[in-house]
Symmetry: C2
């Protein structure tokens, strides 16, 4: 379906719900739309409708839809299920997705689900549950096809034909030793063009990309992007034993989350933030961020308060002072955004930080001079006062230079301190540009005007 269709179906559903009929909705949810689209519809619905739609999905289709739902929403539905249903539904899942979901459910239920599985599946799943969700171990699947190095391709082809289906996104067979150590990979594209009398050892790739189970998810994503991989084997860091494989579809989710993380964090939002979260949950999250920013605002007000006498004498200063603070804030957050992205892409380190700071200072100076002139001219005309024009020009240049320095160095420093620059950066930057803006403008005014 075209992507606009999601919104069209939503419209249909809303209208049906308002009219009080569910025939068409049932039809859409149970067969007319693929499970992926049903999941998108649920994600695009407010909580109450979402629950209603979920109840209209037939039990036999629930498992498939859940598979495509975002984790936060999926877990909510799973929590309401009885254990028997949960066990039935869990059979639809790939091992990595199931592990992710189980991590959010109560211990007792997890035990029951595990008890329902075959010994082999249970062992595999328990192994997955032992890794953090944000590591290669948490991203991997255990459904690999392994072969031994000393057999001929002819035997490999016959072995494959004994399967009724290969796991999704199988682009390589994994070559392992008798003790399950990874020896190399055999890409299907290579298998298909090679002489069937050769052995696996003759044509396997031994310099393939291998990922250790404790590699952080964002590093896994960068490796996939750089090497253009479809899948990669995961091994235990110490024993080199094969544990599973990571496929690009899971990595794509990591890439999207990672790229969105900076944008959402800068506004104090969570990347798991569900667009249609219920009111109380949303209010609580937002309140924290507003509270943090209130501290910033009061610091700025305190600085203004220091110049109460000056303001009392020249009211024009009160009118103009937000301009100085806001230009600094805009200039600073441009630099901050750029540097935060550079750090996320591992582009910025001490080797080039100095160059970057220099460039930003020069850019800040040129733009400072340019806009200081414009603002001074406008001020001189508006208030018919050349002295205030000079003062605001000076303050703008000072604030833009501080904005450039803070925007460049702050995220680098925060990163070194182990603090997420996207989350803390914008609050601190605003504090700096507000304080410096008011301080320089009102300070210069106190010196030269009063």
């Amino acid at each position: 379906m075209s992507e606009q269709d999601n919104l069209n179906h939503l419209q249909t559903i809303t209208e049906s719900l308002e009219a009080g009929t569910t025939v068409q909705i049932r039809y859409l949810l149970n067969g007319a739309l693929p499970a992926q689209d049903v999941a998108r519809l649920l994600e695009s619905s407010p909580p109450k409708e979402r629950k209603l739609l979920w109840e209209l999905i037939e039990a036999k289709n629930e498992g498939e839809v859940l598979q495509y739902l975002s984790e936060e929403i999926g877990v909510q539905f799973l929590k309401d299920m009885d254990t028997e249903r949960l066990i039935a539904v869990s059979e639809h899942f790939e091992s990595d997705d199931l592990a992710d979901l189980l991590q959010h459910l109560p211990e007792t239920i997890v035990k029951e689900v595990l008890a329902s599985m075959t010994a082999q599946d249970r062992m595999r799943l328990e192994a997955l549950l032992s890794y953090s969700e944000d590591s290669a171990g948490g991203l991997m699947n255990t459904d690999t096809i392994t072969i031994r190095p000393n057999i001929t391709l002819d035997i490999v082809l016959r072995y494959l034909r004994r399967h009724s289906k290969l796991p999704d996104m199988t682009d390589s067979l994994l070559v392992v030793s008798r003790s399950d150590r990874l020896l190399g990979i055999l890409p299907l594209t290579r298998l298909l063009v090679s002489d069937v009398n050769l052995t696996v050892r003759d044509i396997m790739e031994t310099d393939c990309t291998v990922i250790k189970a404790d590699t952080p998810a964002n590093e896994v994503a960068q490796i996939f992007e750089k090497m253009d991989l479809v899948s990669a084997p995961v091994v235990d860091g110490t024993t080199q034993k094969l544990l599973g494989r990571i496929t690009i579809d899971d990595v794509v989710d990591v890439i999207r989350d990672e790229a969105e993380h900076s944008m959402l964090s800068m506004a104090g939002l969570d990347e798991d933030e569900d667009t249609f979260s219920p009111i109380l949950k949303t209010t609580r999250r937002r309140a924290v961020w507003l509270g943090i920013n209130l501290v910033t605002a009061f610091i700025a007000s305190y600085v203004i308060g220091l110049f109460q006498d000056t303001l009392d004498q020249v009211v024009a200063l009160a009118i103009l002072m937000p301009i100085v603070a806001s230009m600094g804030g805009i200039a600073g957050s441009q630099v901050l955004t750029l540097v935060i992205r550079g750090i996320a892409l591992n582009q910025i380190g001490s080797a080039n930080a100095r160059w970057l700071l220099n460039r930003e200072l020069i850019v800040g100076l040129i733009n400072g001079l340019l806009w200081a002139t414009v603002i001074a001219a406008l001020t001189a005309v508006w208030f018919d006062n050349i002295k205030i024009a000079y003062i605001i020009a000076g303050a703008i240049i000072i604030n833009l230079l501080f904005a450039a320095t803070t925007g460049t160095l702050l995220p680098i420093l925060l990163k070194k301190l182990g603090i997420d620059p996207a989350l803390a950066g914008s609050v601190i930057l605003t504090t700096v540009t507000d304080v410096v803006g008011f301080l320089s403008f009102l300070g210069l005014a106190t010196i030269f005007l009063i």
Copy 2:
């Protein structure tokens, strides 16, 4: 290499350059590091060093490095090459990447490069050049392996074995009619598990995802994400003829660009923005954004100016007024960010916009009441004036409600008008929260205080 290595190598290079020796750098760039890593090093270097490093790369390695460089940087190097070198280098490229690069080079050079190619390659490339870079046609490769439906799998396997290598990321063979119309796909994983005496027609998938050449790139990305694809065939929208195929590695770039787009646009930055752009280029781009925001700042100042007399009588108002504006700005940009992401993911339409606005108004009201109380208490203590405390509380609540309304409706409206909400949204929102903040606070003060 681990991702930290990029920064370590950078450090080595900077130190070598400072010491004036290039032996170690040459060694790193020409063989010691894979081409992907050399490309990352160039991207992480300031312009002057970047040029120096490029000159140290041997001619025979240039083509491979260029392949991995970001487009903006690659084009700069290509522009400085003579045509003969350019032709030699162009042989390293996949057809889609080459088409993207050629679009940025002068017409005369493009003609010479085209003239150097075989008739078949030229025709393919000319076809690619006719599509926009941001469409499925611009993303696709022309290196497909096509088969006919009526042959047996045994013949398919023998046909494949005549190739020395299959194109990268080949996960399916494309089944076409005599007139090149796409009939279905044959996944390699299915080919490998099926009886070799069956025909292609017996086992091919006919309900596979097919992408039309004029589909926008962001829609292609959503289709890949939803359907968990590795590659998908591209056809002409009217004739249904097979044109090429899109592979996940190119889609991953689209997904990253798209997710970064919102963050960068909200700060007035370009998603092609190179972290190490030279000074003049950076200054020019930033200046435009500062200029636009200056208009906002002057509008806010104008509003303050309307209350000159009030400010003249009660200086405390000047000290407190930035708090009202800033709390509105923060609350508004949280909503704005969330809605912009929801729109980008096609989650928000008229069916759920009303629910969203209601939620945001309630969230704004609760947070408004909460923080208005806190701010009023602090104000009452600070200025020992209960009247100002009531006034600021009222202004905060009013501004937070306006912020919620603007944050929700503005991006939806901009989207309908065909304006990028990420780019224009934050400027307009700040104008609204500044104006409403100052107007409500100083307005209430004028009514109740003077």
